[in-house]
């Protein structure tokens, strides 16, 4: 499913070049729940960004389902992100001017190809599955942080991606909501067979994962 070869990310700072990810080789099988753990600044979010096609590596290769994603053209990579990858960020990543149902439908609308009415019906169904059926027309500012995160998960699923990348998705939530959100993500992984990669510094969350990747100083700790 996912393969990284010699993946490296260097940032240029005032004090010279710093390697956020220093040459990582990684394999994650399809349908797995993998957790990438490490301390703040260990390079786990940079690794996740390169895996998800969000940040171009300084060196190395990322292959998702046989596609070398960084060899794709700009538009092809955008289409790949749109169709194959769902993102759950560590911040409330809904557009504030759009209703929840619009936010969820947005990736499908950007990608085109599906009728608007069908897209909205699917968005409403996904929000219903996340327990937000009564909040379709609500704006993000009108619902709680946990409900916003559920809407983000619904948005990640709208195009039925093969891979969900969740970067510290519960870091700003209370314990009860954190459990609920993780339950939703794990349900997606188990019931839909979607590969789930979770970036976290919470070891309790990582313990449920089938594969744990521990990162320190930009490298995998054996």
């Amino acid at each position: 499913m996912l393969s990284c070869r010699g993946l490296r990310k260097d940032y240029v700072t005032e004090r010279g070049e710093v390697a956020a990810v220093a040459g990582i080789d990684l394999e994650i099988a399809a349908g797995r729940y993998a957790a990438i753990i490490g301390r703040s600044g260990s390079g786990k979010s940079s690794l996740m960004a390169m895996i998800g096609g969000l940040s171009r590596p300084s060196r190395g290769q990322v292959t998702v389902d046989g596609t070398d994603i960084w060899s794709l053209s700009e538009n092809a990579l955008a289409a790949f992100r749109n169709k194959r990858i769902g993102y759950v960020f560590q911040f409330a990543s809904l557009l504030p001017t759009l209703r929840l149902v619009d936010n969820v439908a947005l990736p499908a609308m950007l990608g085109g190809g599906r009728k608007s009415s069908a897209t909205y019906a699917r968005a409403a169904a996904l929000l219903g599955q996340m327990g937000l059926g009564d909040h379709l027309d609500a704006y993000p500012s009108e619902v709680s942080a946990g409900e916003q995160r559920r809407a983000v998960i619904a948005r990640a699923l709208i195009n039925e991606p093969a891979l969900i990348l969740a970067d510290e998705p519960t870091s700003d939530l209370d314990e009860q909501t954190e459990i609920e959100i993780m339950d939703e993500l794990l349900a997606v992984n188990r019931e839909r067979g979607t590969t789930l990669i979770l970036v976290t510094h919470n070891l309790a969350l990582a313990e449920q994962a089938e594969q744990i990747v521990h990162i320190a100083h930009g490298a995998i700790v054996p």
Binding site: N75, A78, A79, N82, K83, Y87, S93, T97, L98, L110
Partner: protein, 403 residues
């Protein structure tokens, strides 16, 4: 496209105060440009009538001809001497913008007025004329034909009526306004062909028809200077190029005013161009700030699959909607301002002898549409670079607030 337009509209609605300020700023610039362009075009066409009514800058007549210099050079004076009609066309003098040839024959017993009244029959070329037709206060609603005559202000006959000149029927095509110049007020104006057709009936000093009624011969030329040319330069150029001519200069103050106003209008045009350019820069700076503020949102859109074209399109559509609305508002404000100042402006200009002629409706609509389109183009150009720059960034950099 609908999705991008809807996103753009929602973004504008999110920051109402900023959007309104942007719309107002563009409205002021568009309003100034629309009002300025409309007034400029109106003043320009008013000047075309008004200042040509002030006469030519100078007159070129045969050397030795007697001339009666008046404040306004509107017609040449009767003389027995003649010049070739194509004198200026052949010479091509740079400091001369236009040279209108005229024939003038002072005749008696023509049938016009009382038996012994002398009448000035004045022939002019409608294609080159700029001192006769601007004075038309009424005319038949068709082009001038052979056999038509235009009467000076001192002569009275209904439009379309028949006027016998030496027994030949002519039609009163139009009437001129009062000029205060005797020759002009008492003259009977006609095309060269119409005047030359009377040659058999007019007797000069030698008994035969006067030389000026021969084809290709004229009494003199009324000359308008080219923009920037001084009367002295033109006089020198004419005298050094054309032989056997005399240059009579009119009121140089009027030439100065005419040329000065033309320069002023060009200056206003340059200021309007600068104003539009500065508005474009302002829009660009504003959209750079908007892009910086919305990096996270743009990064998110890229992350969920928005293509570069969609990011640029959304930002450009947003700018075009705001600046287009500003353009529309500016035109509305401009119309309001022009309505408010219409009376005082027209009164002032007519008081200084410039009859004010507003642009006609369709042309005002064209200027209004042009102002709105220009405002929209400014929005598109101003937002294009910041949007293009943001679209090139990696989504992760934008989400983290970099770039």
């Amino acid at each position: 496209m609908r999705l991008l337009a809807s996103l753009a509209l929602q973004n504008l609605g999110r920051r109402k105060a900023r959007s309104l300020l942007l719309i107002m700023a563009v409205a002021v610039a568009s309003g100034v440009v629309f009002t300025g362009a409309t007034l400029m075009r109106s003043i320009d066409s008013s000047m075309a009538v008004g200042f040509t009514r002030l006469g030519a800058d100078m007159m070129v007549v045969p050397e030795g001809a007697l001339t009666n210099i008046t404040a306004a050079l509107l017609t040449v004076e009767p003389t027995d001497l003649v010049l070739d009609q194509d004198l200026f066309a052949k010479a091509g003098i740079a400091s001369v913008s236009r040279a209108a040839p005229q024939k003038i024959a002072r005749v008696e017993h023509s049938g016009i007025g009382s038996h012994h009244d002398s009448v000035d029959l004045i022939g002019f070329d409608p294609m080159l004329d700029f001192t006769v037709r601007p004075w038309l206060v009424e005319k038949i609603n068709r082009d001038m034909r052979p056999g038509d005559v235009i009467l000076g202000a001192a002569r009275d006959a209904p439009l379309g009526s028949e006027l016998l000149i030496f027994g030949k029927a002519h039609t009163v095509y139009g009437r001129l306004g009062k000029t205060g110049v005797g020759t002009h007020e008492r003259g009977v104006f006609m095309t060269f062909d119409t005047l030359e057709a009377l040659a058999g009936s007019v007797h000069g000093h030698g008994g035969g028809p006067p030389a000026v009624l021969q084809k290709g011969k004229v009494s003199g030329f009324l000359v308008e200077l080219a923009p920037g040319a001084t009367p002295l330069q033109a006089r020198f150029a004419i005298l050094s190029t054309l032989k056997g001519v005399k240059v009579v200069t009119g009121d140089s103050t009027m030439s100065g005013i005419r040329q000065g106003l033309a320069a002023l209008l060009n200056g206003i045009l340059a200021l309007m161009v600068l104003m539009f350019a500065s508005t474009a820069l302002m829009v660009s700076v504003l959209f750079s700030a908007i892009v910086t503020e919305r990096r996270g949102e743009l990064g998110l859109l890229k992350a969920i699959g928005a293509r570069r074209g969609q990011i640029v399109g959304m930002m450009v559509i947003e700018a075009v909607i705001a600046t287009g609305a500003g353009g529309l508002l500016g035109v509305a404000l401009g119309v309001l301002v022009m309505r408010l100042y219409e009376r005082s402006l027209v009164y002032y200009l007519e008081n200084i002898g410039v009859p004010f002629v507003w642009l006609d409706g369709p042309r005002i609509v064209i200027v209004a549409v042009a102002a709105v389109v220009m405002a929209s183009i400014i929005g598109a150009l101003g937002s294009l670079y910041p949007a293009w720059r943001a679209s090139r960034r990696d989504p992760y950099d934008l989400v983290r607030g970099e770039g």
